[in-house]
Structure formats: structure tokens, C-alpha cells
């Protein structure tokens, strides 16, 4: 029992729960503003903060009766003004082609669901009647442009449907914690955790994603695409932090979660500002909000830039370790200690992303028992030329005459040469990992390194030029 109380106290000091959030942090004065998407958008636009374009606002049934659905763009989004937790939002990807004259107009929603004009009108009626509204009173419906995902999101997350967004929790104009919210097939294009979306924690300092969760369970990959979710560097990171702070300032809020999407053409856009940000962000970041909130509660800074600097300093993770852990990639410096095959000696290898393939010196090649091969290869006449077409001829001739040699063409400073290729095993000592690869043999007696690891063999590593061996 005492043990339980101790643990409870420890976690209570660190984690923010609903009681503490509602009592100590939710900003009553700004909550009425942030409940209404229309008002928030107007204030943000007045402050030159980019938001998605509003197509039309349906205030009442008359508006709905008079609304011309033919004037809508191909794709759009319908939202309740005072919605909560993503409920009531419908994303439309396009209009369905009519198969015959009498068929009703219909649109295509996520998961290829078809919604007819009548169904959309009923949905808007439900919004107007307040069924999705925070205070269960009458509401308005918003037609908004659909954000086309930026190239970054399409390439790095392979998102086909739905709109991921980035939420930054802001308190007293400090960025406190951030998460990337990704929709799934289950969530029907919405990115809220409760709809079945994925939350991925983001390191405040670097904008690199950390741990992903779905329904409170940690996951490694996106269930629909198998795409790895950690280790992704979010573009426009400083801009995103800055926009979040500016939005918070604009609506005079003390505590909020700012949602930002990345549009293909317009870049980061502020989607909405939540007065009651969800608490699962703490699981995705493996870190408590309460501790962070308290650590900035007495701080004051002059402007957004200094706030970002302070937050990055105090909330940022230890990047190297984190990247290591989350990407499964190992950090190498510019040089590292290695062993080759069974040779007991250590060598300093140069890590050179400028070179394509890995190369070893003749000296090493002889030590791994290839002296005969090298001597025979060296006895072959001309193996060098400045001209590309000539070097191919030379290579083909050698291949024909000496089929036992495994050879390749290597570009070097002053021309091209045909080199011998050998199989080697490189053992990275400090990193405790070994790779099997093919290396070209070079006469590099006059060079500093006996071994150069080229980028062909560095796929599973990250290079940090400041790291010392």
C-alpha cells in the first residue's frame, strides 16, 4: 500500500491528468473563442497566420436550402463549427461520375465510401442541430478547402488518404510538447487517437519523431503501410513552433494545443486551436506534461524566438542516443576503429560519403591472404585511362583474358581505372557491428587511411561529423 502511494505520488508529480488540466491549466477566458472554429480562424487570419480557406459557412436551414452544391470544388471538407475530437468531420475526395441522367449527385469519402447529396444534407442538418457540438446547442457547418498533403508527408509516410497534422502544446507561449497525428484506414482519414489514429511523439529540439502509439499501445510501423514511424524529421520545424506560439498569442490563450497541417503548396497551415488538448501526447513522448508545464510556469521571455530556444534547450532529447534508438541507425564519426576479416590488427577507417564503394589498401589485401591474386592482377598491363570509352574497352579485355578476376571501374581524381574487387568483412569495434561487403583494392601506400568505407555500405548508419572516435 505504501509502495503504491509512493508510486502514485511520483507519477502524479510528473503526469498531467484531466483533473489538473481542467482545474489549473484550461484557460476559461479563451475557451469560448477556441470552441468556435469560425472565430478562431477569423482571429488567425487577422493576424496573418495561414489557415485553410473557408469555402462557405452554413449558419441555418435556410442557408442549407439555398446552398448550391454544384459550386463546390472537387474536394472539400465539412466540419461542425464547435465539434469535439474530430467527430462530425467528413472529408470529400471528389464527385462521383454519373452513370445515368437520373442518378443523384454523390461524392467520394474516405475508404471509397459514397455519400449522396441527401446523405450530406442530413449530415449537415445533424451538425446544425448540434449533435456534434461541444455544448449540444445549435451549431454551424463549415465547408473548407481540403489540404493536399505536402510532398514530404507523401514520400515519408506514404499517406494516401487523410491528413496528418502536427500538434504543439503551448503554455505561456512556450512550446511544451509536440506530436504528429496520423490517420489510418480505421480512423477514416481523421487523425484523432479516439477515432483510431496514430500519435507519434516529436522531440522539441530537433523535430524528429520518437515513439508511436495507437490506442495507447506502442507500435513501430503504420498498420496500413508498414511505414516506420520513428526517426522522421518534420520539415519547417521552427516555422511550426513559431506559428503555434503566434496562434496562441493571437487568441490570447494561456494553454492550448495548436494543430498544424502541411499543405503541398502553402506549407504549414494552422487547422485549429484546442483549449483542451488530449493527454495521450504524454504516452507518445514518454514524458509528463505536468513536470514540463511547471518548469516554464515562472519563466518569461521576450519573444517567440527566445521561447523556442528555451524550450528546445530544456525539453529537447539527447539527440544522438535518441536517433540511435529510434531509427535503428548507428552514428559514426568521420573515422572509426575497425578490424578486417580475421586480422588481429586494428585499423582507422575513414567514413567517406563522397566515395561510392568501399576500398582497401594493397597492404591490407595482402594481409588477408590475397598476395598472389594481387601480384597476378598487378602484372596485367595497362589498367588506367583518362577516357571513359577506353576504360570500358580495357575492362572488357581484362575480363576476357583473365575471367578469374572480379573487377570494376573506379573513378579517381585524375581519370578512371580498373580495380580488383574482393570480399571482406568489416568489424566496427566501438559500434559492435560487422558488415560483409565488396571492396576495391587500391594502391594507397601514400595515403593516410588503409580503409575507406563508402556510402554503398553506410545505409544503416548516420554520420555525425562532430563525433570523435
Amino acid at each position: 500500500m505504501i509502495k503504491f502511494l509512493e508510486e502514485y505520488k511520483k507519477i502524479s508529480n510528473n503526469i498531467l491528468g484531466i483533473n489538473a488540466r481542467n482545474l489549473s491549466y484550461i484557460d476559461r477566458s479563451s475557451i469560448r473563442v477556441s470552441n468556435s472554429k469560425i472565430r478562431v480562424k477569423k482571429i488567425l487570419n487577422d493576424n496573418n497566420i495561414p489557415t485553410p480557406k473557408t469555402i462557405s459557412i452554413i449558419k441555418n436551414i435556410e442557408d442549407l436550402d439555398n446552398f448550391n452544391f454544384n459550386n463546390l470544388p472537387t474536394s472539400f471538407v465539412i466540419k461542425p463549427n464547435k465539434g469535439l475530437g474530430g467527430e462530425g468531420i467528413i472529408i470529400i475526395y471528389g464527385k462521383r461520375k454519373k452513370r445515368n441522367e437520373n442518378e443523384e449527385d454523390a461524392w467520394i469519402a474516405p475508404n471509397k465510401e459514397i455519400l449522396t447529396l441527401t446523405e450530406i444534407k442530413i449530415h449537415i442538418l445533424n451538425i446544425l442541430n448540434g449533435y456534434y457540438s461541444i455544448n449540444k446547442k445549435n451549431d454551424m457547418a463549415i465547408f473548407e478547402e481540403r489540404i493536399i498533403n505536402s510532398q514530404f508527408l507523401r514520400e515519408n509516410l506514404h499517406i494516401k488518404e487523410g491528413l496528418p497534422d502536427i500538434r504543439v502544446v503551448i503554455y505561456k507561449n512556450f512550446p511544451i510538447m509536440a506530436e504528429l497525428r496520423i490517420p489510418t484506414i480505421e480512423s477514416k482519414g481523421k487523425s484523432n487517437l479516439h477515432s483510431g489514429g496514430i500519435l507519434v511523439g516529436i522531440d522539441i529540439a530537433s523535430g524528429i519523431t520518437t515513439n508511436a502509439i495507437m490506442k495507447d499501445n506502442y507500435i513501430d510501423t503504420h498498420p496500413d503501410t508498414d511505414q516506420r514511424l520513428s526517426g522522421i524529421r518534420i520539415p519547417y520545424w521552427n516555422k511550426i513552433l513559431d506559428l503555434s506560439i503566434q496562434s496562441n498569442i493571437a487568441i490570447h490563450s494561456k494553454f492550448s494545443g495548436v494543430d498544424i497541417s502541411l499543405d503541398k503548396e502553402r506549407g504549414p497551415l494552422v487547422m485549429e486551436v484546442n483549449a483542451r488538448p488530449g493527454l495521450a501526447i504524454q504516452i507518445a513522448n514518454k514524458s509528463g506534461l505536468k513536470e514540463r508545464l511547471e518548469s516554464v510556469s515562472k519563466l518569461k521571455v521576450r519573444n517567440a524566438a527566445s521561447a523556442i530556444r528555451v524550450s528546445k534547450e530544456i525539453f529537447g532529447g539527447e539527440i544522438e542516443e535518441e536517433v540511435n534508438e529510434i531509427t535503428g541507425k548507428i552514428i559514426l564519426g568521420r573515422e572509426t576503429k575497425v578490424k578486417l576479416n580475421d586480422i588481429p590488427d586494428f585499423y582507422n577507417a575513414k567514413i567517406d560519403t563522397g566515395a561510392y564503394s568501399t576500398s582497401i589498401s594493397q597492404d591490407i589485401a595482402e594481409k588477408i591472404g590475397l598476395k598472389d591474386t594481387i601480384d597476378r592482377f598487378n602484372s596485367i598491363g595497362n589498367r588506367f585511362d583518362k577516357n571513359i570509352s577506353n576504360i570500358y574497352k580495357i575492362r572488357d579485355n581484362i575480363k576476357k583474358e583473365f575471367p578469374e578476376f572480379n573487377i570494376t571501374i573506379v573513378k579517381s581524381g585524375n581519370g578512371m581505372s580498373v580495380r580488383l574487387v574482393v570480399d571482406i568483412t568489416i568489424n566496427f569495434i566501438d559500434e559492435n557491428i560487422s558488415i560483409e561487403t565488396k571492396a576495391t583494392v587500391e594502391n594507397r601506400e601514400h595515403l593516410k587511411y588503409n580503409l575507406i568505407v563508402g556510402r554503398k555500405d553506410l545505409k544503416n548508419f548516420l554520420i555525425d561529423v562532430t563525433k570523435n572516435t
Binding site: 502524479s12 491528468g17 484531466i18
Partner: protein, 211 residues
Amino acid sequence: MNELTVFLLRSGIQENTLYILLAIPLAATIILFARDIIGIQSFNLYTTVIAVLAFASTGIFLGLIITILILIFDYIVKYFIKDLKLHYASKVAIVISIVALSIILSLYIAHTFLRLNTQISVYSMLILILLADSLSFTKINKGESKGSIIYTQTVILAIVTFILIDNSFTHIILLKYPYISILAILLDIYIGKTSSLRLKEFYRFRNISKE
């Protein structure tokens, strides 16, 4: 017996009425505790408190049969009218009607096969129909499964609260010390001021602090 209780009973208030009115603050505090300290999700406080009163009239067994039937019929009805694409209000009208009819069915089952007392009051039937309405609303507002989960938790919470307040011990204590109801209000203030982690949150978040 307490002087105040005696005074009130002599002035014509029925003992059962007095007891129920004294028990409501207690029930409200128990439900508040369950929601804000333990972290159980239920429909709004009012709906949950009156659900307790419904159980007081139907008894646990019959009440449970009816509430389970509501959940099942809500699901079946929604399934069959899904393709009709009706407005929300007409869906609720249909659900309420079916629920009312299903109460007849459950009364019949309870009386004929289980030999239970089916003399239940009108207000408890109205409360059960209100539960069906809350279920429909929560489903549209928070999603199908979430709505069912909150409904189930509401029913369980109402039953537990009912057991806690409707027993001879509480009965005697409450009529002997009616000021307990005032004490319950003080507890409400205390709970309303707490900013500690809910028990459910503690179990949800405890693992992240370990690392």
C-alpha cells in the same frame, strides 16, 4: 432517532421520500468520486443519479435485464434502419419506441419465467428510456463503441451506487444522522478542488515514467 428526522416525519413527510431525498446527495458524491477520483466514464451526473433511482424501483435483476435489452435493441434497430438514411431525431424516436416495447417484453419475461416483482413505477421506466436516449446521443457524439462502453459503465456505476445506498445499514445511519448529507456536499467541494491523477490515469500512464 434523530430529532430532525422525527420532526420531519411528524410534519407529514413519508419516511421513504425523506430517505430518498437524503440519499441523493450521497449518491451524487459516490458518483462524483467514481468519475473524478477513480476515472469511470459515465453519462452526465444527473442521468447517472436518476439511473440509481430507477434501480431502486426495479431492483438490480429486473433493471439489469432491461438495461441489457436497451443496449441490444439499440444496436439491432440501428442496424436495420441504417440503410434508410433517416434524420437523427427520427432514429431516436424509433429507438425510444422499441425500447418502450422491449420493457413490456422484459416485464413479461421477468414475471412469467423469473417470478420477479414487476410492479415498477412509471418514473423508473421514463428514466430507462432517458438512458436509451443518452446512449443514442453519446454514440453519435463519441462513436459507436465508445457510446456502448460509457453506457455500460453508467449502468455498473448506478448498480454499485444503488447497493451502497439502498441497504438497511445506510438506511438506519442516514435517518439517524441526516447531517451526513451535508457532509456529502463538503466532500463534493473537496473532490471539486482536487487536481490529482485519476486512478485510471495512473494505470494508463504509469509505464511511461518507469523508463
